[in-house]
Structures are given as C-alpha cells and as structure tokens.
C-alpha cells in the first residue's frame, strides 16, 4: 500500500492544431491565442484523472519551445547556435500561469524544462565549438526560468533524454546549475536505456528520477543492484507504442516496481512525453494508468 503514490505525466501531450483557424486569424489580422490547445491537453489529463499535470507542451517540439525564445539561437530545420546563449524573456511562464487559473483543487502542476545537455546535442553549434561551455550556458538560462517556475508550479521536471546516449562527465554539475537553491521539488527524466549510468543518476541533485521502466523492463534489475534511496516516478505505459496497456498489465507493472523500490515510488506515469501518439490513444493510456493506480490501494 502506498497512498502517496500519484499519477503524473512527463510533459508533452498530442493535440491537433487547426492551421485553417490560424490562417484566418492572419487574414483578419486578429491576435493568435494558443490557449485552446493548452486547454485541450490539460482537459484530457484532468478528465483521465491524472494528479500531476503539465501544460502539454503543445506549442512546439520540446527543443524549439526553448530555443525559439533563447538569445543566441536561430530556428532552422535544426536550431543553430549563432551567438552566446542568454535568457531574454520568460519561456513557459505565461502558459503555466494560464493553466494555474483553471487547475482544479488537489491537482499539481509540473514545470517542464528541456535539459541543457539535450538542448546542446540537438542544436547545430556555429558559435561555441565547445560542447561543455554551450551546455552550461543553456543551464544558466534554464536556471532563470526555473527561478520563476518555482513560485508557480508544484515541482520542476527536467527532460534529459540524451543522457542515455552519452553521459557527460559534467552531467551532475550541469543539473546542479539548475536545481541548486530551487525551493520546489525537482525531477529528472531520462528515457532510453539508462542501465549503464544508474549510480550516476542516483547521485543526481534532484528529488525524483523518472525512467521508461515499461519499454525497458530490464531497468528493474539494473536499479535492484544499487541502494536506491531516490524517489522514483515509474514509467508504466509506453509512449512509443500505440497499443493500449490493460489496467491489469499496468497494475502488475506497478506492483513489480513497488516490490523493488517500496515507498520510494512516489509517481507513476507514461514512459515519456506522449506527443507522438494519437490523442485518443494517449488519453486511453492515461485513463488506464489512473485506474491501475486506484487498484493498487484496493
């Protein structure tokens, strides 16, 4: 029994953007609001019964959300770094404030940041020619965003999928640049196969780790070998597969996690952001996740 176990998302959620509407706003010279797409994503999460909710990251893929607003970035097919990275204006703050206006009581809001290493590896560097320097400048910019988010959200989640491809020796210091002195809890999401970097992840300066335990069940064994004192958000439905896991299947998966991590499991979630799934599939997966979570207490 773990009554503190919460359901969560990782970040992104699929919505269908009406480009005809957007063009009509252009032709009529009306202001363009993105709120309806945020509404759709958040409404689905709430309706599914999820406790920890994001803004859905509906505006852009998770790289461009940040690079579009950071100084030094030029948006092309891949973002190009053409100058020193600097924070100019709030990036996700307005959307988070907007969600907060209609978030039901008892729900928690996640501030989602794309990690500095992932931003670094996703851009074409034409300025620094030094990966580490670029990564730390991204981290400093994200820190400024985090310092505003901490007053709005319940916790901040940092997405660093590229850690599973290559784990830089400065990773701990990089994440610490963001999380140091942040007053709200922090979470680090690394999808992919992290079995070779479990000790490093357990040492990360964050409160919660989240990984794709559903797509990579061998991670259970990888973590079992270590003394895990970190809180865990257990990836429990796949984000890269449209098959909808049954409630029973998810219950079994969570129970397996509970046997290994005990009460350190504080959240269950999809393995990753759901942006690439069809909306109805993403919704059904969240619903089944919530139902499975309820069964755990029965």
């Amino acid at each position: 029994m773990n009554t503190n176990l919460k359901t969560s998302v990782i970040g992104s959620y699929p919505v269908s953007v009406n480009t005809t509407d957007l063009m009509n706003s252009y032709f009529d010279q009306h202001d363009i609001s993105w709120n309806k797409y945020i509404d759709e994503a958040v409404h689905d999460m709430i309706t599914a019964g999820i406790t920890c909710i994001s803004d859905g990251q509906t505006r852009d893929p998770f790289i461009q959300i940040f690079t579009r607003k950071l100084k030094g970035c030029r948006i092309r097919d891949r973002t190009e770094i053409i100058d020193k990275i600097a924070y100019e204006n709030p990036i996700t703050i307005d959307d988070q404030r907007y969600v907060k206006t209609f978030l039901p009581k008892g729900k928690e809001l996640i501030g989602v940041l794309t990690g500095p290493y992932t931003l670094t590896k996703s851009c074409v560097d034409q300025f620094y020619h030094n990966e580490q320097e670029l990564a730390f400048d991204f981290a400093s910019a994200l820190k400024t965003e985090a310092q505003q988010l901490e007053h709005i959200v319940n916790f901040i989640s940092i997405d660093e999928p590229f850690f599973s491809n290559k784990y830089p020796e400065y990773a701990h210091e990089l994440i610490k640049t963001i999380t140091k002195d942040i007053s709200c809890p922090t979470r680090l999401h690394v999808c992919g196969d992290v079995s070779s970097i479990v000790p490093e992840l357990l040492d990360m300066p964050v409160d919660i780790l989240t990984h794709e335990f559903k797509a990579s069940p061998h991670l259970f064994n990888a973590f079992k070998e270590h003394d895990c004192k970190k809180k865990i958000c257990l990836g429990s439905v796949r984000s890269d597969d449209a098959r909808i896991e049954t409630v029973e299947e998810i219950v079994n998966h969570i129970q397996k996690g509970l046997r290994i991590f005990g009460e350190n499991i504080v959240q269950v979630s999809p393995d990753c952001g759901q942006r690439l799934l069809p909306r109805e599939i993403a919704f059904q997966k969240l619903q089944n996740l919530v139902m499975a979570r309820r069964r755990i207490d029965e």
């Binding site: 953007v17 480009t19 005809t20 957007l22 063009m23 009509n24 706003s25 252009y26 032709f27 010279q29 363009i32 505006r59 852009d60 893929p61 461009q64 579009r68 030029r74 948006i75 092309r76 097919d77």
Partner: protein, 300 residues
C-alpha cells in the same frame, strides 16, 4: 542598395518577368479587386484599364488580384477574367476558403486559364483536398505566404518555408514543389502594426539570399490597420502608397499594393524608386535594366 550572392530566379509568367537581382526587372505591382457584395464589373473594368495604362506608361508590370469571397460570385468573376482581360494577361485569384479555392481551380481548368493563373495562396492552412486539386489543376504560379503563427520574426518565416514550423508535414516550399507548381513567389506575410510588421520587409533580402526566389509582400496592410495613422487623415493615403517603396528598396520583386484604385498613387512612386535603384545597381554592380524597365522610359 545591394546585390545578392545567391543566383536569383526570374520567373516568366505569361510574358511578365518577376524576380532577379535588384535593378534588373521592374517591381511587379499587384492590385486588388475586392468587391463589397456583388462584383461591380463596370468599376473593375474602369480601374483595370487605368492600371494597365499606368503599367504601360511606367514600365512596371501590373497584375490584377481577384478576391473571391463567395462561391455565388465565382462563375461571374471567372467569366469576367476570361472576357475582359487581355488574352495573355496573368492574374491572381485570391481566396481564403479552401472549398472555393478547389472550385476555382476546376473552373480555371475548364476555361483554359490556368497558364495565366497565379494562385494566391499556399500557406500552413492548406488542406489535403486543396493539395489534390492543385495537383490535378496546377496553376502557372503560386504565392506562398510565409506566415508562422509561432514566430513572427524573419527566422520564423524561413522556418515555415523550410519545415512548416511543425504545423505541416513538410515545408511550404517542398509542398508547392511536390504539387507540381514550378513557379513560386514568396509573400513575407506583413502583420498588423506592433506585431513585428517590419519583419515582412526585413525578410525580403534574407529570403532572396536564401532561396533566390521572387519575394514581396502586402506591406500596405500594415498602414491600413494602423490606428496611430488615424490622427493624420490627410497623410494616410500617401503613407499607404509610399509604404510599397520599401519593397524594391529592400531588394523585393513585387508589391501587393491593396485596392486597385490606389494604382494611380502607387505606380509612379514605385517606378521612381525602381529608376533610382537601377541607376545605382548598374553603376556599382553592372546590372542592366531590362528592356521594359521604368529607367528606359526615363531615357525616352
């Protein structure tokens, strides 16, 4: 004035040449026929004649832009185009509603008018049905509107041309190419005052340097929407007409200058700037003005 390092494409659309290095071809002027309610064809004919006369006098090519808002007027407008325009005169069909766009393409095909048609426009709102219609009834040319609702900067305009800003499955240039449209003009999407409207002008040299395609915009829309200018009622008309001069001055190739009745103010202004630009680009870059260039009219 400047010259582009990227090779510039000059498109020939039914006898009109658009594009190239600054100073080579005169700015093409696209005048709108917007009808309130049922089209007034006497009005249209009168202003078309005036615009064509101005074109002949200045050397700036003129293209009428027929705004088709309702399906009930479609047949009549196309018949007017067929019967009233000179037989080789290119024209734009300017339509917002996707279903009317499709019907218009079918009708233009039936009337054998597609080889003179400039489709206004392809943008992020293109539907699968519209794509199919464009493949079946491909116009001579299309204007691509580089409007990016996520990013109104110059980079945002490049992004939507390159990859659709993740709002379409491909970049708008690739979409036009895949539909078989061989001649594309880029409209840099002028926005309301205060909405980064200057980016539409700044984007002209950037897009020409990046792609070498004929580029322009409807910068007059910014003036039309300006509340600030309302305090200068006598100046508004001249600001509106002269705003188009920023297009050739920034290396652009065409101006969608608004209502056709503005032609009398716009043509002399643009011809004047084309002459000045040509003087400089010929002296400095060795760009010879084309045979029909306004500067050659000056020598006569």
């Amino acid at each position: 004035m400047f010259s582009f390092t990227k090779e510039q494409q000059t498109l020939e659309i039914s006898g009109i040449h658009i594009g190239g290095q600054p100073g080579r071809n005169p700015t093409t002027l696209i005048g709108g026929l917007f009808f309130k309610g049922a089209p007034d064809y006497d009005f249209a004919e009168q202003h078309l004649q005036t615009m064509m006369h101005l074109s002949k006098k200045t050397g700036n090519p003129a293209i009428p832009d027929f705004f088709i808002k309702k399906e009930e007027y479609l047949q009549d407008i196309i018949t007017f185009i067929e019967t009233s325009l000179p037989r080789t005169q290119p024209f734009c069909v300017d339509i917002i509603d996707s279903s009317i766009k499709i019907k218009t393409l079918e009708l233009l095909h039936q009337k054998n008018l597609l080889d003179r048609t400039i489709y206004n426009s392809i943008h992020i709102g293109i539907t699968p049905q519209e794509r199919l219609a464009l493949q079946q009834h491909t116009p001579a040319a299309a204007i691509i509107v580089a409007f990016n609702p996520k990013d109104r900067s110059v980079d945002g305009k490049i992004e939507v041309l390159e990859n659709g800003a993740h709002l379409t499955d491909q970049g708008l240039l690739q979409i036009a190419h895949s539909l078989g449209i061989k001649k594309t003009l880029i409209d840099t999407a002028a926005l309301a005052p205060g909405e980064n409207s200057g980016a539409a002008i700044a984007a002209i040299p950037v897009i020409k340097e990046e792609y070498g395609l004929p580029t322009g915009c409807a910068i007059h829309n910014v003036v039309e929407k300006s509340k600030w200018l309302q305090q200068f009622p006598t100046a508004k008309k001249s600001v509106d007409a002269s705003s188009n001069a920023s297009i050739p001055l920034f290396g652009g190739d065409f101006a969608i200058f608004g209502p056709i009745e503005h032609a009398e103010n716009v043509f002399p202004i643009i011809a004047w700037y084309d002459i000045l630009i040509s003087e400089y680009t010929e002296n400095y870059f060795g760009v010879n003005p084309s045979d029909s260039h306004p500067r050659r009219k000056l020598f006569q």
